[in-house]
Symmetry: C2
Subunit: 201 residues, 2 copies
């Protein structure tokens, strides 16, 4: 069986659980956290030298890291990765946008807002910059979702899974999703899918 | 023919030129730059609403952005993307590492070092943080390349193209590659490939 080394309330880890649930792939979850130092222990660094979660152990004992790389690996050949080459490339585009633009603002501001041990490290200037950068990322999503139901092509895909994770928690980081109605509608569509699970599951 | 909207000395744009050259795909390059404001003009935003380069226009007039998404799109079905599912997933892992960990340190510190209009915006603390983060990213590459010639699987791939771009210019950002001999050997292997081109080409 697949083993997912993960932190339950991390959006990056939630992406992987969400994907595996949509695909009906069973897995066991092993808690590891950057907050308690367990991602820096030798036994975890032997699995992933970068010491980050999510890290997944395949049935053959090999490991994969980077949430969006894990999504692409398991989505290959399934309905969650578009079959059309251009639509697949647009899914890649959203995944890189997520890691370069969206996550470093929205996930980081949320972490600085909800984890007491990190809150003290952020200056007001940094929090203001992250608010601005996150709102620009949300505006990119809004512009796309004003015209279509899903991010890549015409069906739910890994792009939606990846962007959903931290977008649906953006309020915890101080973002006001009320200003992004198309994003709000899309969040509801994702959450209404039959094989959807919440981050607590 | 393909049209690449690009800035010549951007590593992200260089990745795409390098890939297309390795694949023998002809393209025309159109200069656009964040430095002179041309990436924010309406005619460019109509091609890529995020206003970033590289942006590529396909033969059918559709557009793709995000350097690593462009790499994956054109590498599909070629020798530059591993055929083995696990090795391909490791290539994805390196591409996301590049955009999340490597580029935001090494490319950003280089930009802050070489572009006069950006240099004034960086505090000494930020420059020190970026030096430290970039050195950690280089150490990740070093650890991998101590054991293998290429980043994903046993052959040159999009992972090498993506990581080569800003690593080979790391010196411009103040990084000392002398401390990373395996990275140095890999840079030489990449540059010695028959269809390699320098960033100036």
């Amino acid at each position: 069986m697949l083993t997912l080394y993960q932190q339950q309330d991390s959006g990056n880890c939630y992406k992987v659980r969400l994907l595996l649930n949509h695909l009906g792939r069973p897995f066991q979850a092993v808690p590891v956290s950057s907050l308690d130092g367990s991602t820096r222990r030798p036994e975890f660094l032997a699995k992933n030298p970068i010491g980050k979660v999510p890290t997944i152990e395949l049935e053959d004992g090999r490991f994969l890291a980077e949430s969006n790389a894990i999504l692409l690996h398991f989505a290959e050949g399934t309905r969650l990765l578009p079959a059309d080459a251009y639509e697949r490339a647009k899914a890649y585009e959203w995944l890189f946008f997520e890691q370069y633009v969206h996550e470093p603002a929205i996930a980081v501001r949320r972490a600085l807002s909800v984890y007491p041990e990190r809150r003290a490290t952020a200056s007001p200037e940094r929090m203001a910059q992250l608010l601005d950068a996150g709102n620009r990322a949300l505006a990119v999503l809004e512009r796309r979702l004003e015209h279509t139901d899903w991010l890549a092509g015409n069906a739910f895909s890994v792009a939606d899974i990846s962007l959903y994770a931290y977008t649906h928690m953006a309020g915890e980081g101080g973002y006001d999703l009320g200003g992004f109605p198309a994003v709000g509608g899309w969040l509801e569509r994702v959450a209404a899918l039959p094989s959807h699970i919440p981050i607590t599951a």
